[in-house]
Amino acid sequence: MRSIVLARIDDRLIHGQVVTAWCKTTGANAIVIADDEVARDEFSQRLLKACAPPGMTMHTLTLSDASSYLRNTGEGDERIILLTKTPGVMEYLLEEGVSIDRIILGGMGMKAGRKRFNKNVSASEEEISSMKRIVSRGVDIDYQMVPKERPVNVKKLLSKI
């Protein structure tokens, strides 16, 4: 059965923390990247596939493909790390009926339109309200860079804004 063992928002997508820490502790054997831009860019796709850790399957999917892929329980044992660049994509997947119990906020880089949110996370107003809507659906969002770190529930941070 397909199951999501980790849903993580991080605009670096796959990188050191994911590969050296999360892939090991979650026992995942597949990574799903839900991102339209990546799914349509051949270079990124090839790069991400080539950089997948040994023994991991890499799926780079558009949002709608990711949604149907994740809703379909499938055959075989696939333990998935779901990576998205923004909370908006997580919200979309939740709305589509993908079952995600808990979301980890790993990192969002500073760029135009974003403000400092917490440590290495910056967010735009739209991204903040998206996170609020996710939380009000009853899905927890925790800020946590690596598994060893204590997770910080984003609810409190959101209420400060």
Binding site: I14, L47, C51, P53, M110
Partner: protein, 534 residues
Amino acid sequence: MTVLQAILIAILYYVANSPWPFGGLGNYATIYRPMVSGLVVGIILGDPVTGTIVGATINLMYIGFISAGGSMPADMSLAGILGTAIAITSGIDAEAAVAFAVPLGLLGALVWVGRLTLDSFFVRVADKYVEEGKPEKVWIANILLPQVLLFFMTFIPCFLAALYGTAYVKGFIDSLSGKFLGILSTIGGMLPAVGIGMMLLAIYKGRARIFFFLGFFAAAYLGLGILPLALIFLCVTLLMMVSEGDQEIVKRTESQEGVVEDVTYKYLTKKDLRKSWWNWMYYFQSCYNYERMQGVGFLHAMTYVIKRLYHDDPEQRKAAMRRHVQFINTENATGSVIIGLVAAMEEQNKESGNIGDEAFTSIKAGLMGPLAGVGDTLWQGVMIPLLISIFVGLSKNGNVAMPIVYTIIMYVLYYGFGYWLLNLSYKKGSEAILEMMESGIFKKVVVGAGYLGCAVMGGLVRNFVNLSCKVEFQQTAETVFSLQRDFFDALLPGLLALLLTLGCYKLLKKGWATYWVLLLLVAIGVIGGLAGII
């Protein structure tokens, strides 16, 4: 300890966290490690042999240590430096020093968080130079200000701890009874099991598990030291990789030809490119901050390219500076690829003027993550732990040359690798990089190093994890049956150490936080020691 010695030790702590003398991650791989800094502390305190022994022992705790993408579980440099200083000044053995060093490491991690938070202020300074179009000033934001800050953040606490703390700890240790110190040594002898357990978390899987036991048996029954063990298993690993590789067919794709005109080295000189890269290797993380991560460092590296290409065009200069001060977070050595590609793109831009900001952003953002995944695994996950394990094994008897040999090997490998990637990416472009990644060469290295690493870990367990049972029975009137000598050692020397390490590994794998595992071992040590069992 004299004031001068305390000053030198505090400076050493700063240096371990600074870009000098080996560069950002060059330092992190060498002088930041307790095995290397232990030697230097030993030299400062007039006992390099003890320094090396203690540093190597403390280093065992941090073999599986990874700091990725701005996370920092503990500061092993503080643990190594102060732990060694405590051991030398108060005359306790290396094992007992480990018990003091570990809590210091956790405290040191606070410096890291403070630094990443405060460095964000210097991003404003860098932004100002960007808007003024002054690449020649970027070093102030990237090096001068953050390094002055870092100096105070590291020097002051370490100086106070070295001068007053060690005297205090010495007084404390002198007041302790022999029994308590014995318990401390017992605990310190067990603790490396946690460090090795953490390393196993990353590599103990599949066939590699057999290698772990092979390594252990080779050390336990044949008495092999770490170096012979590593060399023998290197050959075994290579043999295995060759037979595995037979099935793999390397996928090659047709490279695109004649799409863009080759303008490499038309505007930039070899020296410009080298300077850029050197700057990246040394100062990429000098102004590390939560907001842009290595953004200011990347801009600083690019200033050599920008100055050459746009010295007579203030608008282009500003535009280039703006796009390179943006958020970037990647691994240092593999990140050389981005330096090479971006330098080549800037040259194209100079030639044709039609490469938009968008293209730069997407190449940087697209590459930084995957490259960091590969780079962190390769260096922090595999190469550093493997080499440090071997050299810890060689240093632990007090061979002062070994930390130095390790440092030289590491430096050459690291910079050689980065320079090779720089040239490949600059001259051959992104397609060549993709092809190399797709060839699976890095995965092979990682898998192979996992096998070899497991064998070495097995050897380390036998040689450096100490746990023995003191229970004895009166057998006959004259002879005593010692559980350790007549049972465990007769079966398999180091059996208890093996079980302890695998136990720690299991708990860590279950998701126990490291400090809970550490506390458990402390509890076992105290109870077992008081009861006279271990």
